[in-house]
């Protein structure tokens, strides 16, 4: 499944502040479009707006204010990106045929986030004839479209969705969301347990109220009915606990399932014995109630997993298919069928699927995905280009050296760090606790029985009473309730956890490592350019020359300038610089070495600085920097108060001075993905529990190796590598508050544990003295569980709060 985050509407009121895009509500900056319909942040948003109006779908803008998703990032996506859906084999992963000329296709739509989205996506039939029906799913962010294959197809539908601003995820990993069968079964189990609990309680109360056995006829009938109701609870509702206990006994790893199963078995066994031998009324009300409460805790635990499922592998970064030259034809081929020796054709913005050799003279490739370095790299004929690079500018032809599964990108994923599932502290604690608890309960039961021996009846009663009261129901409720609440609150604040247990791991972090590019700074696309010592006119001359190059720095310098009028004699030395005449003036632009060679002026080589000379004057620097994420430095400083913080950057040390104020000496530059991973391992070896905050594929190893990996994500459709949590880019300043909140959740759990121990000790005192009556159990069991629920909910509501996202 695809990972997705809302693009937030910035916090200023829509009425004040900068002009907001009519479609997506983003602030309109450079590249904004003003048309009779309103102001849009980009041409993409305007075209979606016009398309909706043309099809009578303007109500989209009435459900919510500016509900759209900004189209700025999608501009320049390859036109052919959905062509793979024409291939039967590929399409069959998304499409099912269910009738005569009727098919169903399910797409994952990360941008799906609000009522307006739902409204629009269920009206696709207005836009695409041949669509009969569509149903959107807010929780799973997916849409299922039913269509007539004779009139339309999955590719056209995908293109339509993309045109409406809801780009479906068609990558090698994207799959339709399966129906949650586990969840349905849990609901059924809960329903049966609740039904039995209510009825058994009803038949038990007369006996309690009477203070003595009822008339024999009624007592026998009620007892029989109780057993009848309790049986499905034992066999169906509580089956998972017995299965879990059996599994843990076989693998000798005791979990909390073991004492629960023992307690449940003791409860039911003793009740049945008492009822059959007519020696008592049994504990069946407590038994059914206990299962009911346990299952509520389990439902809570599962609900928390609803929001996101985000396991990514290398393949989800790759396209579904690429164009392969076979003789004179260009054939679209799924990447699984690529072989060494195939010649693939990659257009601007397409991702290299497997390692290959460049066949063209030269070309620019952006490896930001793999290495984290911002600048595109020039490659020449015969150079190896590794998978994961993104083609910039000219279309390139590559002869593949290996199939996809053997490429460098896939190899990173075969690193053992991705193979072993991460250790979750909660599991360790529960396993440890479960073992201790089971042993203690069994020993206490045996001790109690020995004490009352040779009164065999009393001995058995005491032993079963101990096992019943030791059943750790309150314990099993404390963690899922508290962590589930924490996960929900964090989600509303823009931090999405992979599982509730991550909150507990976050609370134990002692060292925090930050990636630089994309994490502390914004991603490379928003490079800002500063001209030094140039007038506006001169800067424009340089910009017009820069527009002739496809190098990313040149593109940043050119900004919105395009076109080649008045420019002559352009000579570009790829990767170094270019020269030419602009309106009759000689302009030279490039690196220090290039300037030195062309103008004979010697200028220092400074990272992040490009030089330009006009008509042979003294070269002046142009600074191209990616802006710092607002509040990022402050966030790192705040975290540094309680944690050891490090900077791990794939870039060169150009930014060293800027960040030394925050990190001091604790900075490492030019780190490869493996270096980052090793650095994390090194700190762990020193006894640290490390939190890695990063983005992009180059951090994937470090994110997986760290005790907790948080990926920073800016856009809705962003791909996030293997990580435990995702934080929205604008929420990074909240990081310290997040850690404080996680620590608080841990305190609450510890408190709940303490309280339930008090209950258990009290209950054990009753059990060991042989005074644990069915009535006492029927009161003690729900009261202790409810205390834990109340305590967890009450304490989590107080204390430090997380600001929810606007």
């Amino acid at each position: 499944m695809m990972t997705a985050l809302d693009t937030s509407i910035p916090d200023q009121d829509l009425a004040t502040g900068p002009t907001r895009c009519r479609h997506c509500g983003d602030a309109c900056r450079s590249g904004a479009v003003t048309s009779p319909s309103g102001v849009f942040c980009c041409a993409g948003c305007e075209s979606v707006y016009l398309l909706l109006h043309a099809h009578g779908l303007a109500d989209y803008y009435r459900c919510e204010i500016a509900p759209g998703v900004s189209q700025r990032q999608t501009a320049g996506a390859p036109d052919q990106r959905f062509a793979a859906l024409d291939d039967e084999a590929v399409a069959s992963r998304f499409v099912t045929r269910f009738g005569n000329d009727l098919s169903r296709v399910t797409f994952s739509i990360p941008a799906l986030h609000c009522a307006s989205c739902l409204w629009l996506l269920e009206r696709i039939w207005r836009v695409e004839s041949g669509v009969t029906r569509s149903e959107a799913h807010l929780l799973h962010r997916s849409v299922t479209v039913e269509f007539k294959p004779s009139r339309t197809g999955p590719r056209r539908i995908a293109e339509r969705l993309a045109a409406l601003g809801y780009e479906p995820v068609i990558d090698a990993e994207a799959l339709a969301t399966p129906v949650p069968r586990v969840r349905r079964r849990l609901y059924l189990r809960l329903g049966v347990a609740g039904f039995a609990f209510g009825n058994v309680m009803l038949f038990s109360i007369p006996r309690y109220a009477n203070g003595a056995p009822l008339e024999p006829f009624f007592q026998a009938m009620f007892d029989a009915l109780n057993v009848l109701f309790a049986l499905p609870v034992l066999l169906f509702s509580a089956a998972d606990y017995f299965r879990g206990a059996w599994r843990s006994a076989r693998t000798r790893t005791i979990t909390l399932d073991a004492p629960i199963a023992i307690g449940l078995a003791a409860l039911f066994g003793r009740s049945l014995f008492e009822i059959v031998t007519r020696t008592g009324e049994g504990f069946l009300d407590s038994f059914t109630g206990l299962v009911f409460f346990l299952l509520i805790g389990k439902l809570f635990q599962q609900k928390a997993f609803d929001r996101l499922a985000f396991d990514r592998t290398a393949r989800s970064f790759l396209p579904l298919s690429v164009v392969v030259e076979r003789g004179p034809d260009a054939v679209l081929t799924p990447i699984d069928r690529l072989r060494a020796g195939d010649v693939v054709v990659l257009r601007h913005n397409e991702v290299v699927p497997a390692d290959g050799v460049l066949l063209d003279e030269d070309g620019a490739i952006d490896f930001a995905f793999v290495t984290g370095e911002q600048a595109a790299v020039q490659r020449h004929r015969g150079d190896i280009v590794i998978a994961g690079g993104r083609v910039v500018g000219r279309t390139l032809r590559l002869s593949l050296a290996r199939p996809v599964s053997h490429s460098a990108l896939a190899r990173l994923w075969t690193h053992p760090v991705f193979a072993a599932p991460k250790r979750v502290w909660l599991d360790d604690v529960l396993a440890h606790f479960g073992r201790w608890f089971t042993v203690a309960a069994l020993m206490l039961a045996a001790g109690g029985a020995m004490w009352w021996w040779p009164d065999a009846r009393r001995a058995v009663e005491v032993a079963t009473a101990v096992l019943i009261i030791a059943c750790p129901c309150a314990f099993t409720l404390a963690a899922p309730l508290t962590l589930g609440t924490a996960m929900g609150a964090l989600g509303r604040a823009g931090i999405f956890l992979k599982s509730p247990a991550v909150a507990l791991d976050l609370s134990r972090v002692t060292a925090v490592a930050f990636d630089k590019t994309g994490t502390l700074t914004t991603s490379g696309r928003e490079t800002s350019v500063r001209f030094h010592g140039r007038t506006g006119d001169e800067a424009r001359l340089i910009g017009r020359l820069a527009a002739q190059s496809s190098h990313p720095v040149s593109r940043a310098i050119a900004g919105a300038i395009s076109g080649g009028d008045g420019i002559d004699d352009v000579i570009e030395v790829a990767g170094l610089g270019l020269r030419g005449t602009v309106d009759g003036r000689a302009v030279v632009l490039g690196s220090a070495a290039f300037i030195g060679a062309v103008t004979a002026h010697h200028v220092p080589a400074i990272a992040g600085v490009t030089w330009a000379a006009i008509d042979g004057d003294l070269p002046q620097p142009i600074e191209a920097t990616t802006p710092e994420r607002p509040g990022a430095a402050a966030a790192a400083t705040a975290v540094a108060r309680d944690h050891e913080t490090w900077l791990l950057s794939g870039d060169d040390a150009a930014a060293e001075r800027r960040w030394s104020a925050v990190f001091g000496e604790r900075m490492r530059f030019r780190q490869s993905p493996e270096d980052k991973l090793d650095a994390i391992r090194e700190w762990q070896a020193r006894g640290h529990r490390v939190l890695m905050v990063g983005d992009g594929l180059n951090d994937a190893g470090a994110l997986a190796a760290a005790d907790v990996g948080i990926a920073v994500s800016d856009s809705t459709a962003c791909l996030v590598p293997a990580c435990d949590a995702i934080i929205a880019g604008d929420r990074l300043p909240q990081l310290d508050a997040v850690l404080a909140y996680a620590r608080r959740a841990r305190t609450v759990i510890v408190l709940c544990f303490a309280v339930s121990i008090v209950y258990n000790v009290g209950g054990l005192a009753l059990a060991l003295t042989g005074r644990l009556t069915p009535l006492a159990t029927a009161i003690l069991m729900p009261v202790s569980s409810l205390t834990i629920v109340g305590l967890s909910a009450g304490l989590m509501r107080r204390g430090p709060r997380l600001e929810p996202r606007p």
Binding site: P36, L50, A115, L118, R184, L188, G198
Partner: protein, 57 residues
């Protein structure tokens, strides 16, 4: 008093009926998605006459 036995039997049947209704609802998928339907029901009916009307400001 033995009429109570009859009443209990009848009550149990009614309760079992509801349990089966619940089981049917779960297996029919009514609990699969609890976020979209409450949003969907708030939509107005389509104003299809709006089609092809020029965007207004």
């Amino acid at each position: 008093m033995s009429v109570i036995a009859l009443l209990i039997g009848a009550g149990g049947l009614v309760a079992a009926g509801f349990l089966f209704a619940f089981a049917w609802a779960v297996s029919a998928g009514q609990f699969d998605d609890t976020t979209s339907p409450p949003v969907r029901m708030l939509f107005d009916d389509d104003h299809s006459e709006d089609a092809n009307v020029q965007p207004r400001l």
